[in-house]
Symmetry: C2
Subunit: 763 residues, 2 copies
């Protein structure tokens, strides 16, 4: 069994010895350097750009402004979604390579290509821009108002999209006698992904074709978007993805691949590198949507919901990017996690003059879970019911089936996860112990559950192709469209391939660097889809490869495929487990046989028309210094049911990473924007308070392994879930400690001061 | 029809604009530089190498001598032949990465890895070597004698291999009354390939695997040989082949890929570059076998052969490399070109203390044709029969079938080729005109035919795999194991793929850079095999791809595959030629369909169990300055029947290149070796007289297109043939001009002086 083992990552040795090559390591020193001129207003129009001085600077090769696009003026979408031939399912095409219509402070209005970075930076500074300025709006509830500045044409009230859900009859249901109404607002901040490796790419032309080597999660989608942006056939674009230093969704958007390709074409196909600084990454890449939630619950005395309502206002920033999908996903989970007969919900995604929001780990669910699980805690408290008891009473029951996704809750998984976490936390005792505290330092415990689903079907296409090649020595090379971005996907894929073929994982050579010219199609790293979807693809392709191997074994051993199998790299007769020939010898003979030479390979596409729930919980213990308005996390555990673990050690690592991100989300991280100018105030790691190991207690992880029946390897999503329940668990722990429910994260001192002061704690 | 058109090479734009990346362009500047210490004796043993001073030089990272191989002391073969699981068919494994047993002047005895080239060169010079010297033998007829210095153990008389052919009864046949006996020796020189790009490679490790990026004709074979040399699983080796600046067979040997990989492993997997200088290329790569031929013909008065005999003595140099194959190929053609009932033949391949001989364009046939076609001319002259008439009487007849290869001469192709050439040359008139000359400047015409066959079946495996991918825009990516090395193979492959699929050649994107991790298996560029063998593979794979496309078209159009086809990128209904849907729209829909998503690709192996003759002739006119002993070529034409032309312009270019190489072979090129020391005397382009455009008259080419029935595209070999008939045609022209048959090439002044003087022309 190669699946289920905590093998060392296949890329571990090179990564710890510094040998792994990332995009910048691969770019030749002869590359020209591209720099972007970002707007210094948040809303307006570029009237002119004087390039005279910039062009005089030695080493400057080309200056291109928003007025120089010519044939390349094509509006294109940037979201990392599979394409759809149905225009109604296509992403909004609202970006230009460079624009004169500024939508946020930092928009791309010109670019310089120079022989070196110094000249490029000098030239950027030498560009003189004249703007016509428009009024700026940065708050989502202001932007939606009548009379607010209009950011995009054809989007009245700046609403990119509005969707609703409805079940039963909310208006009637709330008339029921004796209902307790809990009506609250919750707010989550804009944060940035903060992957270690900033976005970087380089581009060059070969013949009429353009190649972009990019730090991306989505090489095959990138091919299509670059084609759309440049207005050239998509087959004329080649995207190469080397090792990636993290993405977390920021690189699930097409960022500057099209611009870099365009700049290369503008200098005759010469190699051009575009390397985002950290400051640019914060401002001109993507951020997590800041969302305001309004939840109204109507409860019966027995602690059941009579009716529930939710309103979601998602701050999109200047361009559509992933658009409404994030808010819609948050809305979608609302009626599932705590089913209720009467539900109403509305989600609005609203343009503002802020940095563009896109995909980020969790894709709306960390936001929704903060709102829903804070609200759940508030409701339980108001109803006087222990919150875990309240949850278990109202959570989706075993056997629940969602009508849209067809997802089924097959196991009593919430209870199982909660029991594990409770035991680790000694929750019941602590809950009692911390229930009536006074004094400056107070402790509290809190928890939250989360809802997540795996992959994007049935909203979008789920399709994954892979190719397996039997090498001369019986080892196997594996190519697939799914993408290693630092999370360990290659290791999981190798284990699944080894398992499915019947060989040792050491004998699987995964081709990590992807190249759209040769890599089978897959949509890439997002939606916690890869282990699930890639698993189908690997299982299917491995089956085809195995069939070809056993067919050849028939030639060499006379034993028909019906009674042979591959085990531990040997062809065995299944009737008596006799080892007939090694796969190594078979592989060599198959390739070099002068009577019957075959290069044994297999390739297949798996289209996935299922999805799977992925559940779990977080329990947190905090220590709050009331006077200092500081909340300190002292103990935390995440428990996940992501089905069967492919690699427990990697799963643990992935959960730890998600918890770390959740801790920052809960306690310290927020992108601050000057409301008047739209300028980001903390575009660096000094001012942006990223959560680090220094801010963490020990991160405890545990798993409940209920095998997912729809998955060939029994697995389901784990990449994004860990971040989802952390912030509400910490917020609820602070509430237990202090009695104050803080409805806005992060729970930084400034915010706690506001709430504690209001609650009279600081007298 | 995309086949048969003179389209511009697919790589033309990048090559003429200098954008094409060759190995050195791709190597990162951080690479360590490796340099090799070559022996300064031709035969002996290294007693010691003092590395002390070398290691002190700043920038030197590692010095490795022949005594430091340790676990890497594995004897390996270097020939670019497919492997065989039959030990009797495996190449001789007589090379070590570095050796203390010196076999030729320039053998590899130590290597230095340094941070830069200067330090590496300094360190090489600082190494102090003690040798034990053995006697040196460089002449093939001396080396074969009893008592000659023995170069390899277990090879008595230095004979690497001896093979014989026999037909009828030679000993009896020569007793026939009234036979004219012509008994002559002929000798061809050692020459070097002189590709523009010297051999270069660089290596680095990833995990336990090692990658070598190399200027090679045979990436998949290289993978195996590096595995053998390092004693590691072949799947742990990855070979990448970028664009190549020519090979001509030198890069059909594994040269320094194993050493470079070894040196990288010795420095912890760091990037190491090994770049051969021109001097090293001449001495320590491979050369063409110098061969001495002894031919005895017994002729009846009617100009028919009663019996024929040939002896071949091939100078192998210090190591086996391609071994006896070259001499054996020359021997093999002897009974086929001019069939005779009584034939005897012997070929000996003999080790000497000279640079190692390996594959070179023509693989023994340029040598054999010089001997055979000079001899044919000599015989015709002696018999008093016009030589063309003599040839046509004795050449293999239409319908001739070789018992071993099963090749059939389907057409009266020799006559057709000769007629074309005669017409261009005004041969009959000139023959008359030049028949009785006196004076210092004399003119002459001469001609020669040649025999060639295509690919290596049935001597070795012929197997070729390819993969086709339908891109999102209806274009197709093509990968195959066959190798572009400058000859234009990618263009021919693209045309064949376009033709077989039914799309425009512009919509085929051939993946030129090969990578053994992802490129389908193929044995590479040699034996003029690729258009023939690759054609089968492309035809087979294209058929599979087309089937998948038409199956999908059935879903979209309801028209079953039985009545649909692809024409000009459109799916058409064959019954009425109605265009149903474009391949572009089909491709996009197939990939993104949420009901049935498929990444349409196809991959197949074609094993070829056939071969094909490829014939033609060369006619030359010369002007000889008797007093100056100078022969000047004034007019030349090659006529080839290589079946159907895939790309006439490229075919023409390939013939011109071969003619140029043949002209140098005839008139100026020879590797001079000091007989006593074994040292090469002209290891550079000042002293080695490479034929250039300055030495050429206009090169005329013509074709006879008899479609080859065994080939899916009607084509057969053209890569090597053009060089084969040139030297004897020129030699025969000189004989017509002067009456002197010079039996040793090149016909340089020193040699002509010797012959002219002997013939009394210089009195």
């Amino acid at each position: 069994m190669e699946v289920g083992k905590s093998i060392v990552r296949v890329d571990a040795f090179d990564k710890v010895t510094g040998r792994t090559k990332y995009t910048d390591d691969l770019c030749d020193a002869s590359a020209y350097v591209a720099k972007i001129l970002h707007s210094t207003i948040a809303h307006g129009r570029v009237l002119s750009i004087d390039t005279t001085e910039a062009e005089k600077i030695e080493g400057v090769v080309k200056v291109v402004t928003c007025f120089d696009l010519g044939e390349y003026k094509n509006y294109f979408p940037t979201a990392g979604h599979p394409w759809s031939t149905d225009p109604g399912h296509q992403d909004v095409a609202d970006r230009l390579l460079l624009t004169d219509e500024v939508k946020f402070y930092g928009d791309d209005i010109a670019a310089v290509v120079a022989e070196n970075e110094v000249a490029a930076n000098q030239a950027i500074r030498a560009l003189k821009v004249e703007y016509e300025e428009y009024p700026v709006v940065t708050d989502v509830l202001e932007a939606i108002k009548d009379g607010a500045p209009q950011i995009h044409k054809n989007y009245p009230n700046n609403i990119l999209k509005h969707t609703s859900i409805s079940k039963g009859n909310y208006a009637e249901a709330i008339k029921e006698e004796g209902l307790t109404v809990v009506d609250r607002w919750y707010e989550t901040p804009t944060v940035q992904h903060c992957h270690i490796e900033n976005f970087i790419c380089y581009a060059y032309a070969e013949g009429k074709r353009v190649t972009v080597v990019a730090s991306t999660q989505i090489p095959h989608i990138g091919r299509r978007v670059v084609g759309q942006a440049l207005g050239i056939p998509w087959g004329d674009v080649r995207i190469v993805k080397p090792y990636i230093g993290g993405g977390f969704g920021n690189k699930q958007d097409i960022l500057y691949e099209p611009l870099c390709a365009f700049l290369s074409l503008k200098v005759g196909g010469h190699l051009v590198k575009l390397d985002c600084s950290r400051e640019e990454t914060f401002v001109a890449n993507r951020v997590r949507h800041g969302i305001k939630f309004h939840i109204i619950s109507h409860l019966r005395k027995d602690g059941t919901y009579a009716a529930r309502k939710i309103e979601i206002f998602s701050n999109q920033g200047g361009y559509a990017s992933h658009g409404h999908s994030i808010a819609a996903k948050g809305l979608g989970c609302f009626p599932q996690l705590y089913p209720c007969d009467n539900i109403e919900g509305d989600a609005y995604t609203v343009f503002t003059n802020r940095p563009v929001a896109g995909a980020m780990r969790g894709y709306g669910i960390p936001q929704a879970m903060f709102a829903v699980e804070s609200h759940t805690e508030d409701v339980a408290k108001i109803m006087g019911i222990p919150s875990i008891e309240f949850r278990l009473k109202n959570l989706m029951p075993v056997g629940f089936k969602d009508g849209f996704s067809k997802n089924v809750n097959y196991y009593d998984t919430f209870r199982q996860c909660i029991e594990k976490a409770k035991a680790y936390m000694d929750y019941d005792n602590k809950l009692k112990e911390y229930s009536n505290q006074t004094g400056r330092i107070r402790k509290g415990v809190g928890m939250a559950v989360f809802w997540y689903n795996t992959a994007v079907w049935p909203i979008s296409l789920e399709s994954s192709s892979s190719r397996l090649v039997l090498n001369q020595d019986g080892s196997v090379s594996l190519q697939l469209g799914e993408t290693e971005i630092g999370q360990g996907a290659d290791t999981a894929f190798s284990q699944m391939a080894a398992e499915a073929i019947g060989i040792r994982v050491e004998d699987v050579h995964v081709v990590s660097c992807q190249d759209t010219d040769v890599t089978p199609f897959g949509t890439g790293a997002y939606a916690s889809r890869q282990t699930y979807v890639g698993g189908f693809s690997i299982a299917k392709t491995a089956g085809l490869l195995k069939k070809k191997i056993l067919d050849y074994a028939y030639i060499l051993t006379n034993m028909p495929p019906e009674i042979t199998d591959i085990k531990n790299g040997m062809i065995v007769r299944t009737t008596d487990n006799m080892e007939l020939i090694s796969l190594k010898d078979l592989a060599t003979e198959a390739l070099y046989s002068t009577s019957d030479s075959r290069h044994i390979t297999a390739e297949a596409t798996a289209q996935i028309k299922s999805n799977a729930y992925s559940f779990g919980c977080c329990f947190a213990e905090v220590e709050v210094d009331i006077d200092m308005c500081k909340a300190k996390l002292v103990k935390i555990i995440n428990v996940h049911d992501c089905g069967k673990l492919i690699n427990p050690a990697l799963a643990k690592a992935q959960v730890e990473g998600g918890m770390s991100m959740g801790i920052g989300y809960a306690l310290s991280e927020i992108q601050l924007v000057d409301e008047k100018t739209g300028k980001v105030l903390n575009d660096n790691f000094l001012d942006y308070k990223l959560s680090t190991a220094m801010d963490h207690p020990h991160l405890e992880t545990a798993f409940v392994e209920n095998p997912e029946p729809t998955s060939p390897f029994g697995t389901k999503s784990l990449g994004e879930p860990p971040v989802c329940p952390v912030a509400p668990a910490i917020r609820n722990a602070v509430m237990q400690a202090t009695g104050v429910g803080v409805n806005e994260i992060p729970l930084r001192p400034a915010k706690l001061f506001e709430y504690f002061d209001k609650a009279g704690l600081l007298k």
